[in-house]
């Protein structure tokens, strides 16, 4: 089991403990399709190792290859190149019904002509489990997903949330060594989705099974995952813990896809100690931690999260990144205010300000304001 530690020391991605065989491994996997005579590369070489008991998310926009990657783990797609291993065993050419993993489908794929009980018992019957044990295990799992008393219902007589739980029970009752979930909460409304996120996490802790979760919803991935692989255009852009991915995005794509980011760029003017100074204007400056790779004259792309920025009418003091601009948009969002500030060079910066005091806002549309943030909140992108 990998545990996330909620502290600054947990920034390093928890790779599978060496010596332990990873539960699931993709080894330089490529998937190509031929569509209308053209070769489409859906997955362009993905390698990743998922540890036993881990809650692992494949996150990315539609068409990034995350679902194809998952379907190769399940056995529904054959990789064009590369190897899929389950617990160290090469299963690349093993059909899905011979793989000891189960999947929860995006559409749930419940058998409409069977009731809840028969749906859930389907896998156990295929494995010739004795009737008494089927009865016991199906009963147990229906208790876990809170569906006792609905055994005789047909799927279409149930709500989306209930169908979702039947799909989960149908997979979990087989006690698979890993569970694959393909955007399982996509069809639910927001409230139910949030409740199911917590529920899924609880079930995963209870059964202790490896979960591989495919989603395009970054907040879902951040909430539940031990580790996340952010995918884009058939490749893994970053593989790390949620905190690491949010605080230290590996690329422009990751910074833009996860949460709201302000992307800025500039030229290093000078290096002072461990800080690089990017000049933007007479009194504007951006401070970036210099990690040795930065030298004077180098151009830098950097990202700053909106909630790290302070907005003020007066010039702030201290060793801060400081920029000036004009407020072009103010949105009241309940727990916080969102400002869009236009800088002198036309770039726009989004700032979130906690609604800690009362409903008064710091600046109105058209006001000239100062934005400031700590140097370590500027994160240079490679």
């Amino acid at each position: 089991m990998t545990e996330i530690q909620a502290g600054p020391g947990a920034a390093v991605a928890a790779a599978p403990v060496s010596g332990d065989v990873p539960a699931i491994e993709l080894d330089h996997v490529v998937k190509e399709y031929v569509s209308h005579g053209e070769v489409v590369r859906a997955v362009k070489g993905v390698s990743l190792a998922i540890a036993e008991g881990e809650f692992f998310s494949l996150l990315g926009p539609s068409g990034c290859g995350k679902t194809t990657s998952m379907r190769m783990i399940a056995g529904f797609e054959d990789p064009t190149q590369g190897v899929v291993r389950l617990h160290g065993e090469d299963v690349t050419s093993v059909p899905p019904n011979k793989r000891d993993i189960n999947m929860v489908f995006q559409s749930y794929a419940l058998f409409p002509h069977m009731n809840v009980w028969d749906n859930v018992a389907f896998g156990l019957k295929r494995k010739k489990v004795p009737d008494a044990e089927i009865k016991r295990r199906v009963g147990e799992i229906l208790e876990v997903v809170d569906l006792v008393g609905r055994e005789k219902r047909r799927p279409k007589e149930m709500s989306g949330g209930q169908q979702q739980r039947v799909a989960l029970a149908r997979a979990l009752v087989n006690r698979p060594r890993a569970l694959l979930l393909d955007e399982p909460l996509g069809a639910l409304d927001l409230k139910l989705r949030q409740a199911m996120q917590i529920e899924l996490k609880r079930i995963q802790r209870e059964v202790g099974i490896t979960f591989v979760y495919v989603t395009h919803d970054q907040s879902e991935a951040l909430t539940m995952s031990d580790r996340i692989a952010v995918m884009n255009d058939g490749l893994v852009e970053q593989l790390a813990e949620p905190r690491e991915i949010y605080e230290r995005p590996a690329s422009k794509f990751v910074a833009g896809f996860i949460g709201t980011s302000n992307l800025l760029s500039g030229t290093v003017q000078q290096i002072t100690g461990d800080t690089a100074v990017l000049a933007l204007g007479a009194s504007d400056r951006i401070l970036v931690p210099a990690d040795g790779a930065l030298a004077a004259g180098a151009s830098v792309d950097l990202t700053v999260r909106p909630e790290k920025i302070k907005i003020a009418k007066d010039q702030p003091e201290g060793d801060l990144s400081v920029v000036r601009g004009t407020v072009s948009e103010v949105v009241y969002l309940g727990t916080y205010n969102s400002y869009v500030v236009r800088l002198g060079d036309g770039a726009e910066i989004t700032v979130f300000e906690q609604n800690a005091n009362d409903s008064t806002i710091t600046a109105e549309r058209g006001d000239a304001v100062w934005l400031s943030w700590q140097p370590w909140h500027s994160y240079a992108l490679r």
């Binding site: 899905p96 019904n97 794929a109 058998f111 389907f122 295929r126």
Partner: protein
Amino acid sequence: MKGGLLRGRGLQIYTWLVIAWLVLPIAVMILFGFNDTHGRYNTAWQGFTFKWYGKLFEIGDLTQALVNSLLIAVLTMLIAGVLGSLIGLALGRYRFRGSGAMNLVMFAAISCAEIVMGASLLSLFVTLAVPLGFWTILISHVMFSISFVAVTVRARVMTLDSSLEEAARDLGAGPWTTFRLVTLPMIFPGVLAGSMLAFALSIDDFVITNFNSGGTMTFPLWIWGATRVGLPPQVNVMGTLIFAAGVLIAVANALLARRRANA
């Protein structure tokens, strides 16, 4: 308001006219099965009787023709039902080399004029020196009804969520078990509808059968031959019974569908 009322009344009259148009010939057929006719022609009402139901099988040739027709229709239903379903499954599920051509052939077989199909089948059988009779009728009936089954099943397969089969595979079912437990029950309404269509097409086919029957007599062929000398009331009775069986099946199907919807 008044115009609306008028339109409503007009629509009502029109609806009843259409229903009458459809039902009247059937009603006449049923009615003349009860006609106490004494002459050769069963066209004028001469009083009510049940006697034709008692003497239903007294015309030996007619009975043999009906038996032939029923046997051919049932065999056609089974053979075309199975083969057509497999074609429909393949066309609805997969894109393969030749699937476009296959679709075209299916469509051609449905839209082809019967007289053309009957004549070309005859010349085929003659060229291959196949003796005409029961088997050539069966072959031709399977041939023209198979595309109707395939098209019906294909439509059903195309509405099927393919992840259902993947889910079955995922839960440990092999390809055959998946087909038996998931695919077949899901497409069964289509298979049933297609097979019934094949039965219906077969039992009343005249044109193609006439070309390929040789000496074998079917129900429609016998009636056609008899019209010149006058139709016996037994024909009306048999028609009534076939019609009643069809109505019964339709009603049972509707009731079953309703119960399934409520279950």
